[in-house]
Amino acid sequence: MVGLRSLDLKSLRRSIDFYIAVICFGFLVVSPLIYNNFFYINALHTASVLMLAGVAWVIMGGYTGLISFGHAAFFGLGAYTLALTYNWGVLPWLGLVLGGCVAALFAAAVSYPLLRLKGRWFSLATLAMAEALKLYFNNWDFVGGSRGIELFRKEYGLEWIYFASPIYYNYVAYAVLIASLIVLNMIVKSRFGYYTQAIRESEETAMAVGINTFRYKQLAMVVSGFFTGIAGALYTIRFRFIDPFAVMDFAQSLQIIVISVAGGIFTLVGPIIGALIITPIAEYVRAVLGGTYGAKFFGIHMLIYGVILLALVLYSPGGLHDVILKLKEGRKRE
């Protein structure tokens, strides 16, 4: 089994990652204050939701080697849990956590059959799982079927996360993202993180040194599902209307994958770099050229995602994070 990356850059990475994260967050917080444009602020909000989902995806895809094409299922479950509980009168701050919990429970349940498959077949099975769930929700009257759910409670304030100005949603999203990153960083640096990386490099070796590989792969799925669920709930609280094709569609999984792979999937800051660069561009291309059904170049942003993905896996599988590391390393040697 070929190792996925060399480990010699490890100590360097640890220090550089922190600075990358600080720079990215500085940009996220300050730039909307300078360039106060409705469209731009929305794009940054979408980016920060994708960052959280991407960081969660990386726990499975990067740290454990379980490449999932079905994260839209976790994302959608979080989104639906928040929408339902919000309308029942549960505070959305609790709803965010509940959304994560429902997604995590689902992840734990599906992990039993899914983890029986290895490698690429696992990826295809996650894809099928998400599509089946989407079809089911589309025909399930309890969650509104294909009509979707609207958040009907209109009470302004931080308590119910309902604001007149869009920029406050961004700051709520950043706060949740930072809190999740701190927790995830602790998780990754713990025994769990090292075990899952051992499984990624060689499952047989990990098993031979006494790691319960099934248990740790399952744990990775649960952690990943939990934070993806929170990301889905964050999406709902901003847009206040969801239907199965908005939150559970394959396009959702795809966005999460592309920003993660673009940034680098072997580090938690990878999706943050990826989303910060790709999401505003993709949203811009979609708004200008793509539009909705009937528009001239429907699907062009997906085409661009495909081209970016193919170019990255062929020429820079480590993503932008590796490019930054190489630049830094090159300068040191001179």
């Binding site: 059959p113 498959l117 077949w121 599509e131 999937i265 170049f297 085409l303 495909g306 081209v307 599988p317």
Partner: protein, 287 residues
Amino acid sequence: MELSLIVQSLLEGVLNGSVYTLVALGLGLIWGVTELVNFAHGDFLMLSAFVAYFLHYYVGLDPIESIPICFAINFLIGFIVQRFLLNRIIEAHLLAQTFSTFALALIIRNSFYVSLGPDVKSISNPLATMAVDVMGIRLSTAKIIATAIAVSLTIALYLFLQKTYIGTAIRAVSQNRVAAQLMGVNTKQTYCLSTGIAVGLAGVAGALIASYYYIFPEIGPSFTTLAFVAVVLGGIGSIQGAAVGALLVGLLQSIGALLFVPAIKDVVVFLAFIAFLTIRPRGLFGD
């Protein structure tokens, strides 16, 4: 529930399943020989359905008549993709292998969206509306012809793999790459040929589907997923398994549509698939 209705929908399931067989065989063949999962398999089918549509629209060819052209075009595309893209990443790590065919699927699908738009097209030929009526059971003529062609092609593929020199080479590479290379088999060329044949079979399925199904850029993923379920049900790496698995998928769809709403028939397939995986993860014919 009437007996004739049950028999009718089960037969429909077998007819649909035999077309899935062509798709599943290709997916299984590519996996067996190159150890790649072709995420773009359903999108190659979609591409070929559009070729059949345009041949009908501009030249007036019936989809059944356009099968050789569809096979040839898809064979060439599969050959070229394997030669210039997939052969480069065949020794690469899991990430590159997974994402390359996946990115290819996105590029094919969305090129069609960008150039033709998301509109649904269909071919209006007399075959599509004709039906055979036996004792109250009505079956579409187009589907019966499609089944006949799918079954004969499955047998042809089996004979090709068993009896010809190239077929033997393909089987040798799928059993042991290094040993086959030592015996003088050109493995790179074998990869190209088998991917060409597999994608060509998806092309035939596309042409068959064009005669009775709607054609739009989004039909690919559902065929990839169903073919995948068929391959895993039958046992990864087994030709007979893929064929039996595909028939099972067709039957499960029919049963799902019969017992619940037709819209969730694929949910039933997937639930049965999960249940099956927990009992027998190696599939029916897996070793």
